[in-house]
Amino acid sequence: MSDTAIEATGLGRRYGRRGAWALRDCAFRLPAGRVCAVVGPNGAGKSTLFALAAGLMAPTEGELRVLGTSPADARPRVGYVAQAKPLYPQLTVAETLRMGADLNPGRWDAAGAERIVAGGDLDPGTRIRSLSGGQRTRVALALALGKRPELLLLDEPMADLDPLARHDLMGVLMGTAAEHGTTIAMSSHVVAEVEESCDHLLLIGSGRVRLAGDIDDLLAAHLRVAGSAETDGLTGHTVVESRTTGRQLSALIRPAGPVSGDWRTEAPTLEDLVLAHLRSPGAPALTLTEEYAA
């Protein structure tokens, strides 16, 4: 088994020959066994990245390796739930699960898939077309998890769910990761929604990787500082974002060493980090590469 779940080098994807680039120059590595939040505003390129990793389309340039091989070859070991949760509307819930069993001979976890569906009080005889958005999400997740994937790609999995179902299904996902070491990449534009569940971050903005790495390491690499606007001393540090209100200056920086001068410093939250980078498109990207060890 590869110790890398996803690795991108110079990855780019453009729709149409003269279309805009949805992704450009993307390079990052997601180690196996991590739960990765793929965060970015609408239109940032998150869904494109998922579709590339799922092997549903080819990159325009660069390379993407999934579970140590090409996305197409990795497909039997990858579970993918697209944002629209595509299912066959005319099938019942039970028929959908039977389809999952037929399509994944030898790896299908019938009990696991049925447990996820049962958690939502779903009648197995109900047709997909008459399910609510949240119920469809539940069936789509059951289908993806029943495959016992090594890598789960979930595009906005929690968007349709009420808070109770969200907590429940996030618990199921975390339980799967704990039990089988499944790598999970899930996108969201709400950081708070995924913060507690993820240990790795991939922040995408305007088709580029802005931040990538272990969340604790990324947080440790940044500092929030506040002080008088006349204070010197931020030279030498990378200033991601700074704002002046009256005589007060507050900034998010990547310190190059100890911060000297009369600054109040504070550890940033993940949301601070994400928002500061999205508000400052010119700030340099940061990719923290981890050692090759679990």
């Binding site: 975390m174 039990e179 507690e196 240990d199």
Partner: protein, 128 residues
Amino acid sequence: MVEYRIDRHSGVATYVQIVQQTKQALRLGLLRPGDQLPTAREVVEATAINPNTVLKAYRELEREGLVEARRGMGTFVRRTLGAAPADSPLRGELEEWAGRAVAAGWDRDDMAALFTAVLDKSFQGERS
């Protein structure tokens, strides 16, 4: 068995909350030597937090000698913490004292203030 409650808005790191709640359970005698901590899977299914956060907390407790991981079996309590189990005779004495204070017309803040003052005096020089 202990059940963890994660407060997302406390500002306390999640793994630290698990460490603290485990220690609290040890102090109160809710967890005793030989007891098993919930598996990482059980904790994350109930709380939806990241499995590595639970493992980090358990490693911390192991480093402090409070629990031990037995391969393929789970994580077990090695020793208790403090000498204040819920059924200690000292607790009975404190309850009696609280009863007398209430009878004498003291309110909760009076009692808490006195208790804290005595606590501070008993542990002068130590940081809480």
